[in-house]
C-alpha cells in the first residue's frame, strides 16, 4: 500500500520533475539575462523529441539523442536571432506574445508533418534498473535525474568560474553598465537562448520515454506550465531554485494524480494551486532574491 500511495508517485514525480527542471533552468537563464518569459520553451522540448524520434531509425541511438539536443539548440538560436533580438527594446508583454506566436508556429508545423497521433519513443536504456519497496525504477528515470544534476553542476561552474558566465550575470544585473565594460549583450543573449534551447531539447530527448508517449504540441501542453511553475517556485532568477522547483512540482503533480483519482485533471489543478499559492504568499519564490 505504501508503495502505491507514496513510493511510486514519488519516483514517477522525481523523474518527471527532472524533465521539468531542465526546462525550468532554461526559462530562468533566459529571464535572468533578457527579462523574457519564453513561451516557446515547450516547443523546444517537442522539437528535441521529434529530432531523436526521426533520426533514431538510421543513426546509432546516442547520435540520435544528440540530434534532438541540437534541434533544441538551433530552435533556441533561431528564436533569439529572428524574434527576440528585433524586439529587444519593446515591452515585456510584447516579447511574451511573440514567443507564444513562435509556439503556435512550431505546433502547427509539427501538426502538418506529424499529424494528430501519438509517438512512442524508445528509451536510451531499456530494462528496469532496480526495485525499491515493490516499485521498479527504470534506467531512463535514473538517467533523466542524472542529466538534471549534471546540467545544474555545469551551469553552476559556468556562472561561478568562467569569464563568459560572469559576463552573463553582469548583463542580467545591469545591461548598460555591462555594455560599457565591453560585454556584448547580443552575444550573451545568443549564448543564453542557445543553452535554453539545448536544455529544452535534452528534456525532449529524455522525458517522453518516461511519460511513455508524445505528440505534436507535447512540450506546450504537458511540460511548459509545470516548468514555469518550477521556475517561479524557485524564484525565477535562481538556477538551484529552478532545479528544486522542478522536482517539487513533479512530485506534487504525480502525488495528486495517483492519489486523487476521483478528481479529473488533479495534476493540472495541483499545479494551479501551487502556482497561485506561491505567487500570493511568497512572490520571490523559495530561493529567489528579487521578484
Amino acid at each position: 500500500v505504501l508503495a502505491l500511495i507514496v513510493t511510486r508517485p514519488l519516483i514517477v514525480g522525481l523523474a518527471n520533475g527532472a524533465g521539468f527542471g531542465l526546462v525550468a533552468i532554461g526559462l530562468v537563464l533566459v529571464y535572468k539575462s533578457t527579462r523574457v518569459f519564453n513561451f516557446a520553451a515547450g516547443e523546444f522540448v517537442t522539437i528535441g523529441a521529434f529530432g531523436t524520434y526521426l533520426t533514431a531509425g538510421w543513426l546509432p541511438f546516442p547520435l540520435a539523442m544528440l540530434c534532438g539536443v541540437l534541434g533544441g539548440l538551433v530552435a533556441g538560436l533561431v528564436t533569439e536571432f529572428l524574434v527576440v533580438r528585433p524586439l529587444a527594446n519593446r515591452a515585456p508583454v510584447t516579447i511574451l506574445v511573440a514567443t507564444a506566436a513562435v509556439a503556435i508556429l512550431c505546433i502547427n508545423v509539427e501538426l502538418i508533418f506529424g499529424g494528430v497521433r501519438t509517438y512512442n519513443p524508445r528509451p536510451a536504456i531499456h530494462d528496469a534498473a532496480m526495485h525499491v519497496g515493490g516499485v521498479f525504477i527504470s534506467w531512463q528515470q535514473l538517467l533523466i535525474v542524472f542529466a538534471l544534476l549534471v546540467a545544474g553542476a555545469l551551469l553552476a561552474v559556468f556562472f561561478g568560474f568562467t569569464d563568459l558566465g560572469l559576463a552573463t550575470l553582469a548583463t542580467s544585473q545591469e545591461r548598460t553598465a555591462a555594455r560599457l565594460m565591453g560585454i556584448k549583450p547580443n552575444r550573451v543573449s545568443m549564448l543564453v537562448w542557445g543553452t535554453a534551447g539545448a536544455l529544452g531539447g535534452l528534456a525532449g530527448v529524455l522525458l517522453p520515454p518516461v511519460t511513455i508517449s508524445f505528440s505534436p504540441a507535447y512540450g506546450t501542453t504537458d511540460v511548459l506550465i509545470a516548468a514555469f511553475t518550477a521556475a517561479v517556485l524557485g524564484g525565477m532568477t535562481s538556477i538551484p531554485g529552478a532545479f528544486l522547483g522542478g522536482v517539487l512540482v513533479g512530485v506534487v503533480q504525480s502525488m495528486a494524480q495517483f492519489n486523487l483519482r476521483s478528481i479529473e485533471g488533479a495534476n493540472a489543478l495541483a499545479v494551479f494551486v501551487v502556482l497561485v499559492a506561491v505567487l500570493l504568499a511568497r512572490p520571490t519564490g523559495l530561493l529567489g532574491r528579487e521578484a
Partner: protein, 334 residues
Amino acid sequence: MARPSPAGWAARAAVVIGVVVITLAYVFSVKEFRADNLAAGVVVAVGALSLNVLVGYAGQISLGHQAFIGIGSFTAGYVITQSHQSFYVALVAAALVGAVQAAALGLIALRVRGLYFALITLAWGFVGESSIFKIKSFTNGGAGQPSPRPAGFTTDRGFLFICFAALAVVLLIDWRLMATKAGRALQALRESPAVASNYGVNVRAYTLLGFAVSGLYAGIAGALFASRRTTVVAGDFSFQLIALPYLIVTVVGGLRRRGGIVVFALLYELGGEYLPDLARGLGIKYVAVRAGYFIAGVSGLLAILTLIFQPDGLGTFTAPIGRWLKGEPFQLRS
C-alpha cells in the same frame, strides 16, 4: 476640430448603408455553408475583442482564454438543455458567468502583476481544459452538452444574424465604454498603475472592471460558439485551438483596433474555408487536408512580423476609415 458638412455626413451614412447592403446581399445570395463560416469568424471576432480588453486596454494578458470561452459555452449549453431555458436567457447567463469567473481571476491579478500573472492565466486555462470541462454533470461528459439554436434562427443563415447582432452589441459597448471615464481609467492602468493611482484612479476597481468586461465578451462568444456547433464538446477548448489562435488574431488585427480585429477574425475563418478549395483546385491535396494547420501556422508567422514591423497590425489600415466614419477628416495617421 472641424465637423463635417451635411454632405460629409451623408457620404459617411452612404458608406455604412452600402456595407450593410453588400453584406446582406452576400449572405442571401451565397450558399449556406459560407454563412456558417462567417458565423465562426464572428465568434472568433468576439473572442478576440475579449482578449483585446485585457491585452490592448488594461495591459494584462490572458493565455487561458480556452477556459473563458469554454465556461461560457458550457454555461449556455447547460442553461438551455438542463434548465430548459431559451437561447437568449442562456446568452445572458453565459455572459454573466463569464464576467464573474474572469473577475475572480482578476482578484489574483490585483496581487500578481505582469508576466507572473500570465502564468496564472496559462495554468487556469489548463484547469478548465483538464478539470472543469470534465465534470460530467456540467458538461455531459464525452457526448457533449446540446445547445440548440433559438427558434426562427436555426439555419446557418438565420444564426449568422444572431452572431452579427451580438457582434454589433459588443462593438457598441466597447466603443462607448472606451470613450467614458472608465475606459480612460482602464487605459491609464496599462501605462502605469502607480501614476494612474496618483491621479485618483481606483486601481482595484478598474482592474476588476477590465476583467469583468473581458469575461462578459468571452461569455457571449462562448454562447455563440455553443449554438453554432449545437453541441458543446470539451475537446473544442484547448490551448492550441482557442487561447493561442485568439491571441494571434488580436495581435495581427491590431491591439486597440476593433476594426482590424474583426476583419482579421473573419479572414482567419474564411481562410480556413477557402484554402482547401484553392489547394484542391491547384491539385495540392497535401495542403487541402491540412488547411487549418497552415492557416494557424501562417497566422503565427504574421503575428511575429506584425509585432516587429507593424505594431498596429491590420488596424493600420482600418483605423483611418473608422476615424473618418466618426466625423474626423480622412487621415492616414492620427
